[in-house]
């Protein structure tokens, strides 16, 4: 490790290299992506070969993925899971945002919520799912409630630190010029809280869909998570990995399309 963590040259002693021409940079990006994919596949094959046939090879997984996409089996479950992800996302973001804003602005609320959030963060996700099922019974709603409860502390934490990091100088300015509450909210706060909202969305998205998979594995009979567990139990590893991969790709694409655009528009 010691050799790895060295600084880059502290002084820009030599002439700064010319910025690569745009299309060349793009080509290098694509090349890097391809290299990563090929390396990943090779690594996978290696694991597959050393596992006495338990872990399927890249070819099997690809065939399985094509089949899932081809006969349309994937879409129904993906849609069900996606709907759950979006519900959890919405609920957790809203609840986390409200709690986070309250605690961020009032140190009283912060003191009150702090131990609750810390405890909430310390409880493992499967336990939430188990407990909520015990109380509400197995149903669509109980899963979603459990996940929302599990994710809210994460979101609230991110929002709290974002609000607390706001520019106090601007608050003083607003007070000096006696801005009305409405004007303060609109002109001073909105701009500063927007990054918090984006952070909240990112956090809850990152966790909600991973937890939806867990919840479906444990309690549901439909959705991608349920299919993953089913494939696992019926010893169809290729199907299991294909389901997981397809869903990961779908989620990454969604994240890039929606969240990144959102982020860019708020930063600019």
């Amino acid at each position: 490790m010691s050799a790895a963590v060295t600084e880059r040259p502290a002084v820009s002693a030599e002439p700064v290299p010319e910025r690569p021409v745009r299309f060349r940079g793009a080509a290098r990006n694509i090349l890097a992506g391809i290299t990563a994919a090929v390396l990943g596949a090779a690594l996978w094959e290696l694991i597959s070969l050393t596992s006495d046939g338990w872990v399927p090879g890249v070819g099997e997984i690809a065939a399985s993925a094509v089949e899932l996409l081809g006969d349309g089996e994937f879409y129904g479950d993906a849609w069900i899971s996606l709907r759950r992800v979006l519900t959890v996302l919405l609920a957790a973001t809203l609840a986390g945002l409200v709690l986070g804003l309250l605690a961020g602005f009032s140190s009283k609320v912060d003191s009150f919520l702090r131990p609750i959030l810390v405890t909430g963060l310390a409880i493992p996700d499967p336990v939430y799912i188990i407990l909520v099922i015990l109380i509400l019974g197995i149903s669509e709603t109980s899963g979603i409630v459990a996940l929302t409860i599990a994710i809210v502390p994460l979101v609230a934490n991110v929002v709290i630190s974002s609000v607390q990091a706001r520019d106090r100088g601007l608050d003083e300015m607003a007070a000096t010029y006696r801005l009305s509450h409405v004007d303060y909210l609109r002109h001073v706060l909105a701009g500063q809280v927007r990054p918090a909202i984006v952070a909240a969305l990112r956090t809850s998205f990152a966790f909600s869909w991973k937890l939806v998979v867990l919840m479906e594995t444990m309690t549901q009979s439909d959705g991608v998570g349920a299919r993953i567990y089913e494939s696992f139990r019926f010893l169809r590893p290729a199907d299991m990995i294909a389901y997981a991969l397809l869903f990961i790709v779908l989620m990454r694409v969604l994240e890039m399309l929606a969240l990144r655009r959102l982020e860019r528009s708020t930063v600019a």
Binding site: A36, A122, S161
Partner: protein, 262 residues
């Protein structure tokens, strides 16, 4: 846990200590009230009294401490592994443009793999061998470590580096006195976040893979519908997590970062 930031030093006006403590106690109290209501409203949530009366006996059993010890060991081991992997990945991302891009695609992908999937896969690769638990936890945690440490390496102070050049501070002295202290806050941030994360993942991994450890005990108690035991395990879990955070990690961080003058 995704936020790759080092918490800024809070400059807020503080409430008087007594008020803060009172409010925090009220916060804890509200959890207990919720539990009491839950306990009396449904048949399934064991009431507080019952749990508390069984707590001494539970804590006295050697089996409990064995399971807790096994799991703690797994958490620490896999966290170390994740830190090493994460540091290596961050260094690659920082040093070389091309391999950095390759590495960040790996990290971006690894961050997106649900821990459930990782645990099920580990079952195929390692069967029920506990090594699978290490592999799952390290795999899930390392991309987060890498993200935080890369941020730290990106923020290395050029001016301090220039000073090091002028005085020819090189090699291990450079690493010890110039580079690592700058990465330390990021390292602690990573450890703190990923320690809690690792505990949660380890339970999940043991739930699927294990034949020992707290996650497996959780699952077994639940399968037998011994809900008081489930809650007891939960209490032990939360206690270990909070105690180690407040009694070990935070004091250690304060000690290492004591040069930061508030």
């Amino acid at each position: 846990m995704t936020a790759a930031t080092v918490p800024a030093r809070s400059t807020r006006r503080r409430l008087p200590d007594a008020n803060r403590w009172a409010l925090s106690l009220a916060g804890i109290g509200s959890i207990l009230v919720l539990w009491a209501i839950g306990g009396s409203a449904t048949r399934y949530v064991p009431p507080i009294g019952e749990v508390l009366s069984e707590l001494p006996g539970f804590l006295a059993s050697a089996e409990v401490w064995d399971a807790a010890g096994v799991t703690t060991l797994r958490v620490i081991g896999s966290l170390l592994l994740a830190m090493v992997l994460g540091a290596a990945a961050a260094a690659v991302m920082r040093r070389d443009w091309f391999w950095g891009r390759v590495m960040s695609s790996f990290v971006g992908f690894a961050i997106a793999v649900p821990s459930t999937v990782a645990a099920l896969l580990a079952l195929y690769v390692f069967r029920r061998d506990p090594i699978g638990v290490y592999a799952v936890v390290a795999f899930i945690c390392f991309p987060f470590v890498a993200t935080v440490l890369r941020e730290g390496m990106r923020n290395l102070d050029v001016k301090v580096g220039e000073m090091g050049d002028a005085y020819r501070i090189t090699g291990t002295a450079r690493l010890r006195h110039v580079v690592l202290p700058q990465l330390a806050p990021y390292g602690f941030s990573a450890v703190r976040n990923e320690y809690a994360h690792a505990w949660k993942i380890v339970v999940l991994a043991e739930l699927f893979i294990g034949s020992s450890g707290m996650g497996w005990q959780f699952a077994r108690a639940f399968d037998r519908f011994q809900l008081t035991e489930v809650v007891l395990w939960l209490l032990v879990f939360v206690a270990i997590l909070l105690l180690s955070e407040y009694l070990v990690i935070r004091p250690l961080e304060r000690f290492v970062l004591k040069w930061r003058v508030s």
